[in-house]
């Protein structure tokens, strides 16, 4: 998985099992909805956090965890992930 990743910094994202909400992994508070609190993971730390997330999966609170790539300024690089982080509603499309 890590071989395909281009970035140096990442956050882990997933969906909350019960609500389906987009969540991010934070070292202090577990899985949170706030992207700002998400743990920034350096490339060399990936293995350690992959193990942590695998353990979290067994606890059954989240589904579909994966790494989101950030640029060197800590911003999300991919449009898909920016849309997912921002969320969306029917009214967002008025007068695009």
């Amino acid at each position: 998985m890590a071989k395909k990743l281009k970035a140096n910094i990442f956050v882990y994202s997933a969906n909350d099992l019960i609500s389906g909400d987009v969540v991010f992994y934070s070292e202090q508070n577990g899985w949170v909805r706030d992207f700002i609190s998400a743990k920034r993971i350096m490339k060399e730390e990936l293995e350690k956090f992959q193990e942590k997330v695998s353990a979290e999966l067994k606890q059954n609170n989240i589904i579909n965890p994966y790494l989101v790539e950030l640029d060197d300024d800590g911003k999300i690089t991919k449009l898909r992930e920016r849309i997912r982080f921002k969320g969306i509603n029917i009214k967002d499309f008025k007068n695009v």
């Binding site: 019960i18 609500s19 389906g20 999966l57 997912r84 969306i88 695009v96």
Partner: protein, 546 residues
């Protein structure tokens, strides 16, 4: 309308109970996500980009006002106040919580609705012409046949784990409004000495689009299910399970060739005919009885004088059709306004529309595969009142069949598979061409937009198709021209290299300018003009070839 019998009710309620237990086991940790995923998919529950998504079936597009009110209730109580009508006569809720799914399904069951056959490798929700039973030229109403197929296919043990999903559509007119030639099986009701069916097989879109081929020129009514079973038998035996991209029946039909595939089916059909009981007339008639027209009274004035209002007149021109009963009109409700994404409807609109249907149309509503709604029986004398109500809830956009009435998938705004956004493109097209007041001059034209190669927005069969692509992290849009899902179905041809999101609207505008300049007369359609002049004039207008 079809009403559940005792068996239908029991089946749906039992399924809700079963899935409720499965959800409890998932939440408690007794089931892992890998174990739960196929179970939730069999109940229409996906995980999308932002959240869970529940897809609810609207079999053959028929919806009662009571059902629409329930959809409004669910969207307000358990979702974010809106639903999305899809390109296969379903509705999707984009934000339900897993813990609420049992309550949602119980509420749906109360109004004879469910999420069965909206996902998984089974025979999906059977679709039909949304004008079924309403037109004088119709040979026979396709809805009873959809219901017969639904009864036969629901939880059919042999067809619950097909190589891939399987879509069937049925029409009863020569004009195809259901896109039967881009379905796994397309069924057309025809009249020879008796009424029966022409069967088409192996159509589909996605990454490998194919137009279905005729496999039988005539199948009798009593043999319809046996013939379908023969096709599915062969597909189930020979369809590929090793490669998801080659698992649809269209690939099998194309690899074997239609003659070889037909031979296999005919041999199986002969075998099955000896063993199976043919459909009995009494059973067919029983189902047909559910689909009789309501008692439409004779209306005195069929040419009433309406108040002078240009918006109403435009709506009357584009959004109403003649009903087979004199004095009535079919009203088409556009879900393609400037305000909402194509196919989206908020809960207030749902409630108002349901009340309108109760008052003026016997509580009947239809859902079209083009993401619009139909109010089937409106007295001509009520048309102005109906328009005023629709206009007050922004459901009177007068654009049915015009270029702003585009089909559009949810795209990357919602879909986990998408490679680009499609809704903003549809909205930009609407805003741009409404401002230019060009669409009336252009006339009927189908623009269809998909956010990825899976083609849920049917771009392959758009007169102008737009496919969203990801090019090194940037959204680009490929244009195809000449597609159609009508009786002369065709797959659009790629016009050239793709356009960025800022270039795509000017590109569409140039294409339309070429069409307006080159067409012989106002009645010459886009497809006819393209057939006459070819792609070259469009390419020359779009690309600098120096």
């Amino acid at each position: 309308m079809y009403r559940y019998d005792e068996f239908d009710s029991k089946l749906v309620i039992n399924r809700v109970k079963q899935f409720t237990k499965q959800i409890k086991r998932r939440i408690s940790g007794d089931l892992t996500e890998d174990e739960f995923k196929p179970l939730r998919l069999m109940n229409g529950l996906y995980l999308q980009l932002h959240a869970y998504m529940l897809r609810v079936a609207i079999p053959y597009g028929e919806l009662s006002s009571k059902q629409l009110k329930m959809l409004a209730y669910i969207s307000k109580k358990y979702d974010r106040g809106y639903g999305h009508f899809t390109t296969r006569q379903n509705i999707q809720f984009n934000w339900p919580k897993l813990i609420d799914i049992p309550k949602i399904l119980r509420n749906l069951a109360k109004v004879e609705m469910h999420a069965i056959q909206t996902s998984g490798n089974c025979i999906r929700n059977v679709t039909a012409d949304h004008l079924a039973g309403l037109l004088p030229e119709e040979i026979e109403d396709p809805r009873p046949w959809c219901e017969i197929i639904r009864k036969w296919s629901t939880f059919h043990p042999e067809f619950s784990f097909l190589p891939r999903k399987f879509k069937i559509a049925v029409i009863g007119c020569n004009e195809d409004r259901a896109g039967i030639l881009v379905h796994d099986i397309g069924i057309k009701i025809i009249k020879r000495k008796e009424i029966g069916f022409q069967i088409f097989v192996g159509g589909g879109q996605g990454r490998s689009p194919f137009i279905a081929k005729k496999i039988s020129d005539f199948v009798s009514k009593k043999n319809l299910l046996t013939y379908l079973e023969a096709i599915l038998n062969i597909y189930n035996s020979l369809g590929r399970r090793d490669n998801i991209y080659k698992a649809r029946i269209k690939i099998l039909v194309n690899e074997l060739g239609i003659e070889h595939f037909k031979k296999l089916v005919e041999d199986r059909f002969k075998l099955l005919k000896q063993k199976k009981t043919a459909l009995k007339g009494i059973e067919i008639d029983k189902i047909k009885n559910y689909f009789k027209l309501p008692s439409l009274e004779t209306v005195g004035k069929i040419n009433p004088e309406f108040p002078k209002n240009p918006n109403f007149e435009k709506w009357l021109k584009f959004n109403t059709l003649n009903h087979k009963v004199k004095g009535y009109k079919i009203v088409l409700v556009s879900l393609k306004s400037k305000n909402y994404p194509p196919g989206d409807m908020d809960y207030k609109q749902m409630i108002h529309l349901a009340e309108l249907a109760e008052k003026y149309s016997f509580g009947e509503i239809r859902v079209t595969h083009e993401q619009n709604l139909v109010i089937p029986h409106i007295k001509i004398t009520d048309l102005f009142e109906v328009w005023k109500i629709l206009d007050s809830i922004t459901l009177a956009t007068p654009n049915i069949g015009l270029l702003t009435d585009s089909i559009c998938c949810p795209g990357m705004d919602y879909c986990a598979l998408a490679t680009a956004r499609s809704i903003p493109i549809a909205q930009k097209i609407t805003n741009f061409f409404e401002a230019k007041k060009k669409q009336d001059e252009i006339g009927p034209l189908k623009i269809k937009i998909s956010g990825c190669i899976n083609a849920c927005g049917h771009h392959h069969v758009g007169n102008i198709g737009i496919l969203g692509l990801d090019k090194n992290g940037q959204e680009f849009y490929q244009i195809t021209l000449g597609g159609s899902s009508k009786e002369n179905a065709s797959i659009g041809k790629i016009i050239g290299s793709s356009f960025s999101s800022s270039e795509i609207i000017p590109a569409i505008d140039k294409i339309l300018d070429v069409y307006l300049e080159k067409r012989d007369n106002k009645n010459q359609t886009f497809i006819q003009t393209l057939e006459q002049i070819g792609l070259k004039p469009f390419q020359e207008a779009l690309y600098d070839n120096n």
